[in-house]
């Protein structure tokens, strides 16, 4: 069954890092440019993420993510470059389209922010196994019920996708049109989705009973198969990030003065 997680199973520095260090990295990488408030800091964070991505050998997996975000960045550039309210200075024109400096500058900032967030998340997402993240969260005192909720999503979705394919084939063999104009496609939606939804909701009843029988509601403290603790590398990594964060605050204060 195909997993929905993007995790790449390999042994690198990043996959060994504790999931909390990587979460901390996301926060720091997003906050630094917002605190510092200059375009150069976006460059710094993007560079940092790129270094981590290369070190983690996940460059190939990151490229489709970037390609996906490009359509959004492109619309932001088009709309603000052409129509931003503060547009005054004409930068260049392509035929009848006139691009303005102010709008493009604003769009650059938004585009860099999107890219920065995307790469920081990619570092985390591609190198952390969801089950490990849930384990780490539970060991830090997160409610195991919510932990179950998260890990169960990863089991349920591939199952539902299987059901969905079966139902799609079944309905098509009964003559349901799933291709054609918008009206035909819209009409196909209900007969496709309602059997899947119904069956998965009815399954929840049995799953609930199975869980209750196995002591899901028990208040007893659970033990763990693997004990994850922050290693020396994690502490070094987090210290480095904290230094960068403090640096950006100092940067902001000095530019103010």
């Amino acid at each position: 069954m195909k997993s929905i997680s993007l995790y790449v199973d390999q042994d690198t520095f990043l996959t060994r890092l504790h999931s909390f260090s990587k979460l901390y990295y996301i926060v720091v990488a997003i906050i630094i440019p917002l605190i510092g408030g200059s375009l150069g800091l976006y460059g710094l964070c993007l560079g940092l993420s790129f270094c981590l991505i290369i070190a983690g050998r996940i460059v190939k997996r990151v490229l489709p993510l970037i390609a996906f975000s490009f359509t959004i960045i492109l619309t932001v550039f088009l709309i603000h470059g052409l129509f931003n309210q503060e547009n005054e200075q004409i930068l260049f024109s392509l035929g009848p389209l006139i691009f303005y400096q102010e709008g493009l500058l604003y769009a650059t900032k938004i585009g860099l922010n999107i890219l920065n967030m995307l790469l920081a998340f990619a570092v985390f997402v591609l190198t952390t196994r969801p089950a490990v993240l849930v384990d780490d969260l539970e060991q830090a005192g997160f409610s195991p019920r919510f932990g179950y909720m998260i890990s169960s999503v990863f089991q349920i979705i591939p199952q539902m996708m299987g059901t969905m394919n079966t139902i799609m084939d079944a309905q098509r063999s009964r003559g349901l049109e799933t291709e054609g104009n918008l009206l035909v496609r819209t009409r196909a939606f209900i007969p496709l989705i309602s059997p899947v939804v119904n069956s998965s909701l009815i399954n929840t009843r049995e799953r609930a009973i199975a869980l209750e029988v196995r002591g899901f509601d028990s208040k007893q403290k659970k033990t763990f198969l693997q004990d994850h603790k922050l290693q020396r590398e994690d502490k070094l990594f987090m210290a480095f990030m904290t230094i960068l964060l403090i640096g950006s605050v100092i940067w902001r204060i000095t530019t103010w003065l």
Partner: protein, 200 residues
């Protein structure tokens, strides 16, 4: 009124949440397979809100976006966790007030859910993308409003209205038909006023 936010924290509710998140995912998938110009990614959140109440609905919505944000690398989804939370809670409240029993009530719920989504999403759009939503139709409206000199907030608001309100109408109609067809033996798990009665 006291029953409005009451939630049963039993296994049934904790199993409902992942199922709802799965349904959200399927809705989005079907919408993209059938190439519909809507998101349809809150069907599960609405079902969660109707069956489990506003708090479970809110958790469904927020958890949906958080889980997908942190595992599929879709950091754009992550931003809208608040919106989903709002939708789930709004639908849950409307359902507890008894509006999901009739078709007209379902349409009213759709309005409420749609406006909740618009009100929460608009500031998020402004902060993160400068007003656009990433949906072609909505962004065309935004471009038009900016070209005709309307304020950015109003433009972004219209951008959301054009996309969110039809989306929520269709979502709630689908949810209405699905919930109507659910067997009693399932819905009784989530009823609030149940009592344990002994036979002798």
């Amino acid at each position: 009124m006291k029953q409005l936010f009451k939630t049963k924290w039993n296994a049934a509710c904790f199993v409902l949440i992942p199922a709802c998140i799965g349904i959200n995912y399927l809705g989005k998938l079907f919408a993209s397979v059938l190439k519909l110009p809507l998101w349809l990614d809150s069907i599960g959140t609405c079902i969660g809100g109707i069956l489990g109440g506003p708090i479970i609905g809110g958790i469904c919505g927020a958890a949906n976006n958080l889980i997908f944000g942190f595992t599929t690398g879709d950091s754009i989804t992550l931003v809208y966790a608040l919106t989903s939370l709002g939708i789930g809670a709004a639908v849950g409240i409307m359902a507890r007030l008894g509006h999901m029993k009739t078709l007209s009530g379902a349409l009213l719920t759709a309005c409420v859910a749609g406006f909740t989504a618009v009100v929460i999403s608009t500031p998020l759009n402004l902060i993160f993308w400068g007003g656009t939503t990433g949906n072609i139709w909505g962004d065309a409206v935004f471009a038009w409003s900016q070209a005709s000199g309307l304020p950015v907030i109003l433009g972004s608001f219209l951008d959301e209205v054009v996309v969110d309100i039809p989306d929520k109408f269709i979502t709630l109609l689908i949810v209405f038909t699905i919930v109507k067809g659910l067997p009693r033996k399932l819905t009784s798990l989530y009823e609030l006023d149940d009592e344990v009665v002994s036979l002798d």
